[in-house]
């Protein structure tokens, strides 16, 4: 390799032994601190957690006898756990396509140059960069039945007073969460899709136009295949985020009413930090990791494709 050849050249001019040793080992020296921290904070707790998940530690008892897969068997009988996975799936299944669709429509609107386009883009990106806790708080203010503008606007449209307890009424809690979620993350999809659409080969589009192809045909035959890798990456990044949704729900509904909007992240939190079922929480964590590993593998494959 030419690099090592020139590295040797540099060494000849620098005879210091320590300096040479540092340079020889440099590739490993500069990797070490980062990897060390990752192992310490990333891997070590996981291993610890794995051990704990085979024991019987609870808030009251520090029972470290190994019970095999008892905690994992418990997972299958835990209806609240599966319900929470169901809630997570519902939110993901509705919010993700909506974000994609709205993001795509927005990208179509802004794909052609027009004066002031940059200002619109700068403004539209704001929801996405806000802290999810702030996003949830903002919508809680918006949805408030007495002092929020949503009820006021709906009343105006309906022509009669509309009083909806968005964050309490079982019929409206999911719409409330999804509206907040879609509001915050559609601009994310929009940005990525806009970048992807700008990279579609213009000569192909012109050729299609000359041939008189319809808009839908161009979309299906040229545009969608060209932006498919970006759609995949965007969906998987967002999908992973949605599966671990926590913050927005914490501020909007706190999982309520009852445990109606409790997602898997909230349920794990409750088990770990209010019930203090140490071993059982560890088992849940590994269920979550197993589920997400499947999605992650897909993400990585897609990202390698897109690179």
């Amino acid at each position: 390799m030419t690099l090592s050849a020139s590295l040797n050249g540099a060494e000849q001019r620098r005879p210091s032994r320590l300096g040479r040793m540092l340079e020889d080992r440099l590739p490993y020296l500069i990797v070490a601190p980062a990897i060390l921290i990752l192992l310490l904070v990333g891997l070590f707790p996981l291993i610890y957690s794995l051990i704990v998940s085979f024991q019987r530690i609870t808030m009251t008892e520090n029972d470290t006898t190994f019970v095999g897969l008892l905690n994992y068997a418990e997972l299958f009988r835990d209806t609240r756990l599966w319900a929470s996975l169901g809630h997570t799936a519902i939110i993901t299944a509705i919010a993700l396509p909506l974000e994609l669709l709205i993001g795509f429509l927005m990208a179509q609107l802004f794909i052609d140059r027009m004066p002031g386009r940059q200002i619109f883009l700068a403004l539209l990106v704001l929801p996405t960069v806000i802290s999810p806790i702030v996003a949830g708080a903002t919508w809680r203010l918006m949805f408030d039945v007495r002092f929020g503008p949503i009820g006021q606007i709906l009343s105006f449209i309906a022509g009669e007073p509309v009083r909806i307890l968005w964050t309490v009424n079982p019929a409206y809690v999911y719409p409330a969460i999804i509206i907040c979620e879609v509001w915050q993350w559609s601009p994310f999809m929009f940005l990525l899709l806009l970048a992807a659409l700008s990279n579609v080969d213009p000569s192909q589009l012109e050729a299609a136009e000359i041939d008189g192809a319809s808009y839908l045909r161009v979309l299906r035959a040229i545009v969608l295949p060209a932006i498919a890798p970006v759609i995949a990456v965007a969906c998987l990044i967002r999908g992973l985020d949605l599966v671990r949704i926590f913050d927005i729900i914490w501020t909007l509904t706190e999982g309520g009413p009852g445990s109606m909007t409790e997602t898997i992240s909230l349920y794990t939190y409750v088990q770990g930090f209010s019930q203090f079922e140490t071993s059982y929480t560890a088992a849940i964590s590994f269920l979550v990791i197993a589920l997400l590993t499947v999605i992650t593998t897909l993400v990585l494959k897609r990202m390698e494709l897109a690179r």
Binding site: V31, L109, V134, A282, L292
Partner: protein
Amino acid sequence: MRVSKLPARKARILALRYLGAGVVTLLFLFPVYWLFMISFKTPDEIYHVPPLWIPGQIQFSNYYVLFKDGDVLAILNSLIVASVSSGIAIVLGTLCAYSLARFGTGGENLAMWIISQRMIPPIAVVFPIFLIYVYFGLVDSYFGLILLYTAFNLPYVIWMMRGYIVDVPLELEESALVDGLNRWEVIWKVVFPMVRPGLMATSVFTFAFAWNDFLFALVLTRTEVITFPVMLTHYFGGQSNFWAKIAAMSVLGTLPIFVAVSVMQRYLVRGISLGAVKG
């Protein structure tokens, strides 16, 4: 992109697009406007039925209360924790990325392992980390939170910076080596300046991650190191919500990110897509 022959038709389409753009922007910005506006309202205006869309006057007493009650310490904590952890993650991560990009250290497997660390859901590790932090007395300490954010930002920094470093022409480094610079000098004097835009953009995202994080801060802080998202959730009560504080704190917690992101607009797409879209 679409070619139209009639200028009148073209003008009509442009007008329609501005109309669409305006409506979309209004829809997405209205909640942000509402938040900012409430932060300037007096209590009487906040709890007015029907809601008022414009405050009677711009007044800052809601912010003043945050300063008076010492709540802004949460913002200060967030600033400290987010900037220190980003700084460390950027330095260590970029060095690691350089080794991965130029020496292929650890091969594709190490790179894959590192990015897979990014995908681990926080909820799955926060509990064991909490137990370990309790054991070592790290709960509610700057060191504990900074260490955690550094660790969670490292995979992102390594992944992004590897991409930026690969884009630096190899010849530049080679000629610097021939000129007698050693490898450290090459990294410092040749590579760092070349990837500076990438470094700046990546720092914005690492800062934003630590700044916006709620779950880790909720679990690992109590009073001393409480960050602003955790503080914000304390204002929600069973019966009464402190709306004035919620709005003012939200605005304070949002401004730094708005500023950072608008400066870094150009790199946003590459940053949020984990480098998949080079936009």
